[in-house]
Symmetry: C2
Subunit: 227 residues, 2 copies
DNA sequence: CTCCGCTAGTGCATTCATTCACAAAGCCGG
DNA sequence: CCGGCTTTGTGAATGAATGCACTAGCGGAG
């Protein structure tokens, strides 16, 4: 390989978005390999665990440098370290959750985030009845304390689980407070504030996509109309 | 257009996956247009609402036939009907949820699914303490009643919100019972049973992707090392 | 030291998706 | 009835992602 892993700062070889989307899969697979006590892993095995094909694994990993040994495979620990560092998981990311309803409550009490390097450090709601409620270790704060908490705690990620009608406003507010990334669960398109990256998760859409395919499969089966 | 909307059965022009993924966005946008009392909508407006570009909207819609009028736009009601029928939303889809924990509970009580044509008609859990619990109108059933419920109620979609270690087993069981589509929230790769389509939603992955981009943006900013 | 087996890394062809840009086509005002 | 305005539908160009198939290179056996 010609590009050494760049002693000073970061390389910067512009990673394809499709590859970025698969990093978490590799991350998960490597964690489980590591816990299983494996020292090395081949692209074939990683592919199997991540549910993708081996050539893709190799190409994806090659964007980050040369971490494999031909004839052997990848060093699990080294590769895990590299991916963790690319994902910025060397220290914990603090998140603020806005909208402590059904979904918000589940998210706050979800242990899996912490295991993967994320921590819901604050939660706010407009509803005065919710403010002061305790969920695990976290006490729901009033909307007005958002800015202070974001700045004081160094929160970089916002999670929106309010009603859809409030989502845009909340996103704007989060942007003003200095949050740089937002994960939005409200089923509405949000215009991203300047400098803020938004990802949307819409569960109803996922079901619709399943329904679409199911629909097609069954109408394909009934090519001959029933007698 | 050369392909008439095929009087008998369905056309079958193989819709690109990327297009399928956007149908729910259009669906949502059209619902809101319709509720707002609009009769027609241009590709430009739809694009704005769905957060994509206008050419893409037109190309996507063109796979389903000719629903627009040049110089005018699309008839909201007709287009909504078409999309609803493509998504198979002419009747309600029944779902079974497996694993009534934090997340499962939030999903069951979520009204938004019903509005979009989905109904969690059954929920099961292995934990005997959970069985019999009431969530809204639904009573949690024992794992053993899964097959009967799926068959009797005509359930086509399974939702997995168990712990990751149980996900594969649950998926296999759902497959055996005749479920054809699965939405999996457990952060693990599941091998799909024969004839079953699986979609995964991994929230920690979403956060990791945000973290990756944030990481990159800030390391791009610090090109000059601090003094 | 050499040769063999294995697996990473990658160039290339192919497939899939996006976007541009323009002709075809409906509407409306005169 | 005609001509201008608007917006669709789509061919063709471009770009992104995938996957094959080959080469380079390491480790271990003999
Ligand atoms: N519950 C689910 O399983 C589920 C599934 C998919 C999507 N969603 C979406 O997630 C969002 C939340 O769902 P939910 O079921 O938790 O709803 P919910 O009604 O239980 O909770 C919404 C919460 O947001 C708060 N809120 C409203 N406006 C606010 C504002 N401007 N600022 C701060 N807080 C505000 C409300 O006080 C309430 O506590 C909704 O947009 C919903 O469509 C939920
Ligand atoms: N809570 C969240 O916000 C959240 C967020 C992202 C992902 N997830 C994932 O969703 C899943 C559920 O999360 P949770 O927080 O609700 O966990 P939880 O521990 O609260 O709930 C899990 C439930 O699954 C049940 N269960 C376990 N094995 C089962 C089996 N074989 N058959 C049927 N039921 C079984 C348990 O009895 C329990 O009720 C986990 O895989 C988690 O990683 C949860």
């Amino acid at each position: 390989m010609s590009d050494p892993q760049g002693q000073p700062g970061t390389p910067r070889p512009q990673i394809p978005e499709a590859t970025v989307g698969r990093l978490p899969l590799y991350h998960r697979a490597l964690i489980s390999m590591h816990q299983g006590g494996n020292d090395t892993v081949s692209s074939e095995q990683l592919a199997e665990m991540a549910g993708v094909n081996a050539a893709k694994v190799r190409k994806d990993l090659s964007y980050f440098g040369t971490y494999g040994t031909r004839g052997v495979g990848y060093d699990v620990e080294a590769l895990l370290g590299e991916i963790r560092s690319d994902l910025g998981l060397t220290s914990e990311w603090k998140c603020v959750l806005v909208g402590v309803g059904n979904l918000g409550t589940a998210l706050i009490s979800f242990a899996g985030f912490r295991e993967r390097g994320f921590h819901v450090a604050a939660a706010v709601d407009v509803d005065p009845d919710k403010v002061g409620t305790r969920i695990g270790e976290l006490v729901v704060a009033p909307q007005s304390s958002l800015e202070t908490m974001v700045r004081d705690e160094g929160i970089a990620i916002g999670i929106i689980s309010t009603i859809p009608a409030a989502a845009q406003e909340v996103a704007d507010e989060l942007g003003r407070c200095g949050v740089r990334s937002i994960l939005n669960f409200a089923p509405t398109v949000i215009e991203a504030p300047e400098g803020v990256l938004i990802r949307n998760v819409d569960l109803a859409s996922e079901l619709e996509i399943l329904a679409f395919h199911d629909q097609r499969r069954s109408s394909a089966r009934d090519r001959r109309p029933a007698v």
